[in-house]
């Protein structure tokens, strides 16, 4: 007899989808540049959760390795993004992304 334990993998994937959708909504609706960055971090994290769940389902640790690399790239992205925000604030004294349109013509 095979034992199926609750909560199953679907629950984790549903949580991951909900978190990703909330992160997307945050990116679309917020105007503060730092909060938009934090919403991107949230989306990266929700994808990591899905990867760990799939990795667990397959019994294969390749997904976990991918999560490790995603975390490193997310750290690099956060550092560069925050540096851009600081440079922006230095020049315009504002990080409202609706007011940042210097590439628009």
């Amino acid at each position: 007899m095979e034992q199926v334990l609750t909560p199953n993998i679907f629950s984790y994937l549903a949580v991951s989808a909900i978190l990703f959708a909330l992160g997307t909504i945050g990116v679309m609706t917020r105007r503060n540049g730092i909060v938009v960055f934090m919403c991107i971090e949230l989306m990266l994290n929700s994808v990591n959760l899905a990867l760990v769940a799939f990795s667990r389902m397959q019994g294969d640790s390749a997904g976990s390795m991918l999560v490790f690399f995603v975390m490193c790239v997310a750290a690099a992205e956060a550092v560069v993004g925050l540096a851009v925000i600081i440079a922006l604030f230095r020049n315009k004294l504002d990080i409202d992304i609706n007011n940042v349109n210097i590439f628009k013509w």
Binding site: L5, F10, L13, L19, F20, R31, S64, A75, I86, R90
Partner: protein, 202 residues
Amino acid sequence: MLFDFEPEMIQTLLFWLFALLGIAGALGLIFNRNPIYAALSLILNFFSIAGLYLSLGAEFLAAIQILVYAGAIMVLFLFVIMLLNLQDEKGVLNFDARRGLAFLLGLAFVAEMIFVFQDFSTQVYALPSNCTEYIALDNHQYQCVDTDEIYTLLPEDFAFGKVEPIGNALMTEYLFPFEMISVILLVALVGAIVVARKHTYN
């Protein structure tokens, strides 16, 4: 025993606790006007995701999640927020057409993903925690000595998420990506210093 719960029930309770805390943290992130409160909500969300990793058996990733995300990255975010001394964002709770469209699209995305993922609901994933010892049978089946129940466990299940197999994989199979990550981090470090530096033109 003081709390005489079934292990499955504790697992379910912990899953719901961490899942709801994580979703509450995400909602706090997108609905808080003050960026500092938003960052603290995100830290709550990171901790609950670490709890979900633990309940999936990925111990190393849970530790890394707390150390790197909640520890290092969010401290950097909070530091920058406090450095910039930002005003509260106005109109976060207003409901206009753009915001309605965003929520509609988010809802559609969740519905799609749940539709796609629903077939995975019958998969076995968890190691039962109420067993102290297993008797190996054929075809990757193991009998629990405490409860006499038979579980199907793949060989990888026993090593999943532990530090040793991850370290071995990093130094053998994933050596090239591992070295590339160090280059990426160095480039990010130098790039951040160059971008955020105070430029003096003379």
